[in-house]
Amino acid sequence: MNYFFNKNGPLISTYLIISIGFWLIFLIIIPQLYMFDLSFRPNIPTLLRGGPDDVYTLVHYKHFLFGSETSGERYNYVDVRVFLDTILTAILITLINLCFCYPIAFYIAKVASAKTARLLIVSLIIPFWINELLRSFALRILFAGEGFINNVLIKMGVIDTGINFIAMDVALYTGLNYAYILLMIFPLYNAIETLDKNQLEAAEDLGSSMIRTHLRIVIPHAKAGIASGCTMVFMLTAGALATPVVLSSPNTFWFTQLIYQWFNMNDNWPRGAAYSVVLLTVSVVFVLLMMKIFKVKIGEIVR
């Protein structure tokens, strides 16, 4: 501590300590802990907080699993299904994104000339500077009942009446896929970029087929990038709200929308907090899983 003050001088030390303390304690740790605490509290008006009714309870987690006590169902099929749908879809979208982006990342990193690579990277960034909502909106224009795709298909005589892409969730899945592509490409690109080109040439020289070269050399080298990209895409997809708001059909829910409902429409904050804790747990488990599977450190995932 003394060393710290000596090294930075009194003024800078104070600045460092205050800003970091503020961030870590007030913005990161305390809010999460309080939310965690709230998820075990009954839903009572703020004024009664700290009163005799304010006791720890598991009622919200029970509700998530078993539904309200008045319903005859054994489990809370609706919410659990939404939850599982969200997680499975997010995993699926992550995998699709990975397959979709790998060739592009490889092309930019190792095949394209420096100038082309630069151009491609810049053009990749541009669409992602545009608001996620607006990008989803663009897809909505394409997929709407009287939207671009339906009109084109009808004109071409492929179909007679419009397909309801939104009700079929095609629009939602495409939108989620579209929304986070960049976060898959860039970690992949960064990882592949560090691969020595000589290794590829050596593999080719030794008679390795192209697929084998990728499996044995490129992918092992890029594993940190793959882990990083998959984690980011999964997290953002599972926690997405903007895209589902724009693109989900009226009878499909994303888990975040459920949380949103408990908060803003049903005014049951503790229950919303409990659902948030569930989502957070899944996220943490996923990160740990990725670290375990790919044997990477957390620092390699977030870059």
Binding site: S136, F137, L280
Partner: protein, 411 residues
Amino acid sequence: MKSQQALNILLGIYIFIFFTYLFGPLVIMSITAFNSAEFPSVTPWECFSFRWFNEGKIAYDGQHLAGLATDWRLHEGLITSLKIGLGVVLLSVPIGLSAALVLTQVHSRFRTAFYSVSIMPVLFPGVIIGISTVVLWDRIASMGGGGLATQLGRNGIFLTILAQTCFISTYCFLIFVARLQRFDQTQEEAALDLGASQTQVFFKILIPYMMPAIASSCVIAFLASFENYNTTVFSILSDQTLTTVIASKVRLGISPAISSLALVIILITLTVTIVYEVLRRREDEKNRAIGSDALYAQTLDSRLKKIDKSEFSIPKPIFGVLLVIIVCIFSFNKLVENEIYGSACIAAKEKEKKSNFAEQLKLLQKNADKASQTSVQNGETGQKKEFGDIFGDPDLFKNFGGFDTKKKEDP
């Protein structure tokens, strides 16, 4: 190497499809901004018009579809977003910088733990950060007893700044860590050795070195704040930012005004990117020139000798710009020739639609009359009145007519 060629062609096609997927929706959305129809679409094409950038229109069913220039909600949201963005930049850049600096100084035993906590906010779903901030501050506000804490705790802008700072600081932190890794710490020591105080070292050595990273993290922080929705939608409480306005608009029904907003944002993005690229390229070239000059001065190697390019050459991008301008003029000409541009076209289309609508109304009226007759016979009178209220309002059409005729007289 025939298979190699085939492979390259395949790869080329793949990349083409990929970028079409990436840009196609955006291009189509941009085009819809110029279609005068109420629903953002390319087909059917009504008229080429700038109305969605300007005043918008009042639909024939009475709903006012505001254009970009007249939508006060968007404007207010924009201003709120700018305020929040500014606040977030002011908080998260210093926080990120200090965290990155401390990371280089903490004992290696705690480094991993510190780093993990610092990057945690990026791994949290955005909604959760918003929620946790709101619930905490609601509690603080209720305990504040009407004082400053209560005011702050119920202020959506303040909460949103805090919530966004939580994870945007991590973005800044990562940018700074990357830059600091290349920092030569002996420079700090050299400055100290030359008599600078620690504070002077910070401001005269470290900050100038970090300046590029500070600039880019300001931009990134602002952009991240500006386009955030997931966190903001919870923490903004009763206020509205640009993104929450857009979201509610999109949910209520989609309007071409949003397309035009998107187009404006796309154009700004494009311009900024191009300017940045040009500047960067120029800087690169300058550095390269300096480098080779210095090398030349040292080695006098004739291979490095500079060839003076004194002749004037037209920069290539100008041709591209010229091409775009020519295409624009040409297609605009076509539009005017075919009378699918301008108020006349819009008026015609409106008239057509109105007559369609009127016919439909008449039909409805007829049905309603029939229904009311039967219902009157059955003793139910309420039905007719209701129809009369909605469809029978004579002012409804007058309003439209007035609006349209005024528009006609304008030019």
